[in-house]
Symmetry: none
Subunit: 205 residues, 4 copies
DNA sequence: AATGAATGAGAATTCATTCAT
DNA sequence: AATGAATGAATTCTCATTCAT
């Protein structure tokens, strides 16, 4: 029984990997099931034994990828005790992960992130796990009084993740011609200290 | 002669408006030429007298919209003499514009911004006009010593525009259920002052 | 009145010449009225003032061309008194004409000659003028006892014209890469003397 | 496995036959895929599982037909030992074949034979097989000193095939109103003995 | 469980022709 | 007489999905 389940899972992984390859090179509408089947060395019909339809297969990609992303992230953060260094590490790992998974990056940033149905899909829940993790660290930072307390944690998170997403997106659109990690320090600096001149006074709107 | 030109322009506008309606409700691939023609009350073939093909029509939308966006923006900024207030006004107008043009917002943020071909298209040049304008103001701010000088202007711009784009995108994905302008002060505050606690020291990576 | 007629005729010629250019480069179905209009420097609609429709324009080409072909041929044959030399000259002029009018050659050989409607069209009559001329010469040859008398003139004509058409067609399909006139003597020799060895006896089927 | 291959081949034949019917009645551009599908009692899409596109289907017709033509021809020629009788039989079979396959005749003579792309297509190679066969027989005839040796074999072939093609073409354009085989002896006689009067001397140009 | 042949709806684009100006 | 904007029918090809084997 166990081996059967494993076998099924293996086949699913195999299809999912082919899907990442294919969707990553084009986009949801242009990518074809037949191409994915070919890449996975199976018949087209077989895909429908594991996924309800094309959209189901597509949305299953981030569900699986987020899981491995989070697992790995946990390992990197383990042992770090202050929120500042946790966020720094997280920033680094975030960029490192997409740099080393450009196909998936394209799928997530240029397709999913911009797709209303994805946010309503079941699989979106799994992606939220990461967001929750970030929020937790930010709240820690607020408790440690290193992150401002006059705004809710999720607003703070939006600034950080929004800017990270933006960076990765630009990099993809520039066809990955430069090193995504090159000046990642800059990013955190800007988000942390803001764009204001150090000798300028704090100002609000 | 003049009236003929005007007439042709009018027809083009009419098609462009129908295209915004239709593309705004779905997306490039799903939207159909026949639907656009129907909405514009013309025959399908007529569209091809004014635009080379579907993509040309699609990419012509931001070309036209950016122009009117910039013209209007100029009026709003006129008379403001310091970079801080210019940026504040720009931030406000940016959000105001997309709040009042949600169909176009969807086209620009969820389709164009994520489309490699768009960045290579001729029409992209027209969109750059706005980006140039923002860079100019930021450089002013750096000269006025209100924006940090240790980073290049276009990096600063990326933080601001990246976050604005992110905000608009979220709002669209949440189906415009809240007021995009509601707490726009927050945005500028975060970008300007950063996420760090006021009493925390400046830190870098 | 006369000048008006001439003006009309001139315009017709202008369109016809553009049509030869355009139809000669592609084929009836692929060629477009708009391209012809462009080449003739007139509006599309104007063509319909001079020709009933696309087919009418198309079929009008050989009508006009055959006329000038025959006029010229008459000049070349004038003064020649025996059928042998008349046929020899005709063969030469036939190849010379198509060599110097390749666009028209393509239209006549690759399109018209193979088009059932053309043979039924009014304009086909004008093309027959040439055929009649050839038949006349052949009959002369038969009377002079230089061409065999055991077959009807039009059968003889078919051999000659059939082979000429075939030669021109091959040349066009080979993209005019060799000189159509190069070994035209060969053609007449073969048609006249047949393919049999000189010392072989005459044989029939 | 064998039956599967046979089944696929059968389906291909079925489509090819429908294509001959339809292309034979009109022409490449006018014939529609939907009509062919209808005639073959299959869905339009199915055609594209067996042929790359309309042109591929079109060009596949002579590839297949030539094969069966050549096979049959071989049977007819087998046992004939001299080139004269071989050519006589070939002439007869050529006309017989097209008389009994008028749809295909129309496709080959009125469409293919006049189509530049066809001569460049891969399928044209298969048609060449027949031409090679004819050349071989002609060379035999030259060795047997029954066909003239002062000209290359392929020039001789051109006269024969050119005239045969011409005859079939005329017959098709006259809407097959007479018997193509009726006086086929005439053809060979003319090609063999030439149009010159028997008592006229051999003359060249 | 796996296959892959068959489906058939769907969409962009072209272009001859018309007709109001 | 000349224009050229508008038309809208017509057609190829793609591809997700099904289902009999």
């Amino acid at each position: 029984m166990l081996t059967v389940i494993k076998k099924k899972d293996l086949r699913k992984q195999q299809i999912l990997q082919a899907a990442i390859d294919v969707f990553g090179k084009s986009n949801f509408q242009s990518a074809s099931i037949s191409e994915i089947a070919q890449k996975a060395n199976i018949a087209e019909g077989t895909i429908y034994q594991y996924f309800k339809n094309k959209e189901d297969l597509f949305f299953s990609i981030p569900a699986q990828k987020t899981e491995s992303f989070c697992d790995e992230l946990d390992l990197h953060i383990e042992g770090i005790h202050d929120a500042f260094n946790k966020l720094r590490k997280l920033t680094w790992y975030y960029l490192y992960f997409f740099k080393t998974n450009p196909d998936y990056a394209r799928i997530l940033m240029l397709e999913m992130r911009v797709n209303k149905s994805f946010f309503k899909s079941r699989t979106f829940g799994k992606v939220q796990v990461f967001n929750d993790k970030v929020l937790e660290i930010i709240k820690e930072g607020q408790e440690e009084n290193f992150i401002r307390n006059d705004m809710k944690g999720h607003v703070i998170r939006e600034v950080l993740l929004g800017f990270l997403e933006h960076r990765v997106t630009r990099w993809l659109l520039k066809e990955e011609k430069y090193d995504l990690l090159a000046n990642y320090g800059e990013i955190f600096d800007l988000v942390f200290n803001g764009i204001k001149s150090p000798n300028a006074e704090r100002r609000h709107m």
